[in-house]
Amino acid sequence: MVNLTPLLPELFLFCWALVVLASDLFSKRRSASLPGYLSLAGLVITGFLLIPAHDAYLWGGMFVSDPFAVFFKIIFLGAAFMAIGSSFGLAGRMTHHRGEYFTLILFSTVGMMFLASAKELITLYVGLELTTIPLYVLAAYTKSSRASTEAGLKYMIIGAVSSAVLLYGLSIIYGLTGTTFLQQITINLSIYWLSYGELGPAFSIALMAILAGLAFKLALVPFHMWAPDVYEGSPTPVTAFLSVGSKAAGLAAIVRIFVGAFIAFATPVMAPRDWGSTLAVLAAITMIVGNIVAIRQTNIKRMLAYSSIAQAGYIMVGVVAASNLGVSAISFYVFSYMFANMGAFAIVAIIAERTGSEQIADLAGFSKSSPVLAGLMAIFILSLAGIPPLAGFLAKYYVFAAAVQAGYTWLVVLALLTSVIAYYYYANVIRMMYLSADPNPHHIVPSFPAGLVLALAGIGVILFGLMPEPILKLAIAAASSFVF
C-alpha cells in the first residue's frame, strides 16, 4: 500500500469539493452562502494540511511535494479563497447551479495543485487539463450573458488547441528520450547530446511546441488574443481566478519543464535553438504589447486583462534568468501579484455589482463616495504598478535583479521602460477616483466575505512590501527545489 500522505491536501480538497456540491443539494438550495462558506473553510483546512507535506514524493517521483510545489499551492489556495470570497454577490443572484460554481473552482484548484507537484509529463498534462476544463465552464457561467457564453466558447477552443500543441511537443520529447519523467529526460538528453554533439531539429520543434502551448495558457504575446475577450466576458471573480490562479499554474508548468528539465538548454552552449533567448523575446513583446494596448482600454476588466498580460511578461523576465534567484523572484512575484490583482478584481466586482458598470470613467469621484474602497483600489493599483513600499515593487525589483545577474540588462531596461507606460494607465484609474471633481452617487459597502477578501489583499500588499522576509525565505526555499 502506497503511503498517500504527500497527496493528502489534494485528496482532502477533492473530497471537500464533493461535500460542497452535496451541501447545496441537501440544503435545498435555500442558502446562497452555505456552499461559499464551506468552500472557504475547505481551502483554509487544505492550507493547514500543506504544512507537514515537505520534500516527499510518490510513485517513483511522479508526484513530488517539494518547497516549490508547496509555495505555489499556497498561491493557488489564496487565489481560490479570494475568488470565492468575492463571488458571494454573484452566487446570490444565481438561481441554478450555485453549488456547482464553487465546486468547479475547487476542482480547478485541485488541478493546479497537481500541476505544481507534477514531475512527470502525463501527470503534468492531466493536471493542466483538470485546471482548465472547470475554467471553461466557469467562464461561461452567466449563461444569459452573450459575452460570457462567447468567453467560454473562445476559451475552450483556444484552450483545446493549445493543449494539443503542448501535447505534441511533449510527445516528441518522449520520442527522443523514451521517458516521461522529467529527471530522466534531463539525463537522457544529456547522454544524447554527448553522443551526437547536437540534439537536432526534433528537439527544437518540441521546445517550441511546448513553449507555444504553455504561452497560450499564460497569455504571452502573440498567444494572447483570447485573453481580453475571455477576461471581459467571464464573471469578474472567475476573471480574477483566471488571471492569477490559472496564470500561476501555467507558470509552475513552465518552470517545472524549462528550468527543471531543460536548464542546460537555456543558453546557446548546448542547443542550437536555446529557449532562454526565445523566451526573452517573448517576454519583451509581451511587456510592450500588453502595456501599450492597455492604455487604450476604457473597460476596467479589459484594462486589467492587458495589465495581467504585461505582468506575465515581467514574470517571464525572471524565468529567462533561469537561476536560483530567478525562480525565487518569480515565486515572490506571483505571490505579491496574487494579492494585488485579486484585490483589484474584487473591488471591480463589488462596484459592478452595485452600479452595473465596468467603465473606468464611472469611477469618477469614487474617492469621495467610498473613501476606503478607493484607497484600497489605489493601493492595489500602485502595487501592480510597482511603487514602493508595496509588495509589487519588491517583486519587480527582485525579478529585475535576477535578470541583471543573468546578464539580461537590456531586458531589464526594456521592462522598466514599459513599466513607465504602465504607470500611465494605472495612474488613470487613480486619476478618475481621486482627481475628478464629478460627484459619485454610490456609497458602496462590501459584503462580509468580500470585505474579508479586501482586508486580506490589502494587508498582503502592504505587509509583504514592508516585511517580506518570511515570504522571501519561502521563495528562496522554493528555488532550492531545482538544480542549477
Binding site: F393, L394, V404, T409, V413, Y424, Y434, L435
Partner: protein, 493 residues
Amino acid sequence: MTYSFPILSFIVFTPLLGMIVVMLLNRERVTAIRWMSAVFAFITMIFTLIVLKDYDSSTASMQFMESFNWIPSINASYLLGVDGISVPMLLLTSLLSLVAIVISFNITNRVKEYFAFFLLLECGMLGVFVALDFFLFYVFWEVMLVPMYFLIGIWGGPRREYAAIKFFLYTLFGSIFMLVAILVMYFTSDPHTLSMIELIKTAPTFSRGVQIFAFAFFFIAFAIKVPVWPFHTWLPDAHVEAPTAISIILAGVLLKMGTYGMLRVSWAMLPQGLHYFAVPIAILGLIGIIYGALVSMAQKDLKKLVAYSSVSHMGYCMVALAAYGSVTAIAGCMFQLVSHGLITGAMFLLVGVLYDRAHTREIAAFGGLANKLPVFTGIFTLFGMASLGLPGMSGFISEFMVFVGSFKAYPIIVGLAVLGVVLTAAYILRMIQKIFLGEFDIAKWGGLTEINLREILCVSPLAILTIFIGVYPKPLADLMRATLENLVVLMAR
C-alpha cells in the same frame, strides 16, 4: 558615532505618524487637522535642530547611524546616517515643510486628504536625505511621488492633471535608470552590497566601463530631478500648476534631491565616470544658466518666471559640481542649494500670496503695487535682490563661491556663466519694476489687502536665514567643511 536615541527614525516617521493621526480625525474638523499637521511638522523640525546641535562637524564620518537588517534575503538594510551634506538638507526640508503647511491653512477643499498627503510627502523627502542603503533610498525616492501626484493633481491650477501626470511619469522615467544602475552596482560589488558606505569605499575599484555606465544612468535619474537642461521640461508645468505650498516644496526640496543624489551617490562612488563626464556636465550647467535666464525674461506669468529662474539657478550647481577638484566649488554648490531653497521657496510663497488676492499672475496686469502694499513690496524686493545675488544675502555667497571655485577648472565656462548673473538681474529688476513701480490702477487693484500676519510669520524665517547666511556664512561652511574636504578626496580617486 552611535547615538543613544534613534533620532533619524523619529525625524523620518514623525510626519508619517502625523499622517495617521490626521487620517483618524473627522474630516469636518478642519482647524484641528491644520493645527495637528503643523504640530507634527514642528516636532519634526525640533528633532532636526537637535541633530544640528549634537552634530560633530569636525569629522567626515557618518553620524547618528542606525542600522537594522531589514530584508536579509536581498541584502537590503535599514541604514540611516547623516553627514555634512545631509544635515543642511534635513534642516531645509523640515523648515520648508513647516512653512508650507502653515501657508496651506487657506486650503479649504478636501483638507484632510491634503494634509495627509503632505505629511507622507515630508516623510519621503526626509527619508531620502538620511537613507544610506540603496534599496531604502530608492523606496523613499519613489514614495514621495505618489503624494506629489495627488497634491498637484487635486489642488493645482487649471492644467493640474496634465502637470501631475507629466511630473509623475517624467520622474519615474528617471528612476528606472537609477534602479538599473543600482542593480549593476550591486552585482558588480563583491561581496554584493547595497550599503552606500561600503560602495563609496569599493565602487571606485570597478572597471572604467561599469563606472561610466552606472554614472550615466544615475546622472539621468538625478538630472531630471535637478533639473539639468534638457531634462527640465516637467518643471515649468509642475511648478506653475502646483498649489503654492507644493511649489515651495518642489523648488525648495525636490530639486535639491537631484544634486544631493549626485554628491552622495555618483560623484562619491564613481570617480572614473565623473572624470569622463565632467566637461559635458559643466556645459549642460552653463546652458541651463543662460537658457533658464533668457526664458525667464520672456515670461508673462510671474510664477513661470520664478520656475524658470530655478533652471538657471540650478545650472550654477552643475558647473560647481563639474569642478570636482575644488572644495570651494562644492561648498558653493551646497550653499546654492540652501540659498535657492530659501529664496525660491519664499518667492513662490509670495507669488501665492499675491495670486490669492489678485487671482492673476500676469506681470503686465500689475503696476505700482508698492503704493498699496508697502510691506509685501518690501519683502518681495528683498527676495528679488537675494535671487539676483546682491551682496549681503545668501545668493551672493553661493554664486561667488561657485565662480571662484570652478574658475580654475573651467575659465571659459565660468566666464560665460557670469553673464547669467547679469541676465538674472535684468529679469528680476524688470519684474519688480513692472509689478511694484509705475502707475497704480486704483480701480483694479484698490481692493488688494496687505500680506497678513500668518504669511509674514511664514516668510520671516526664510528672510532671516537668507540674510544671516549672506552676512555670516561661517556656521554653515563649518558644518559642511570636513565632509566636503573628504568628498573632494574621494572624487579625485
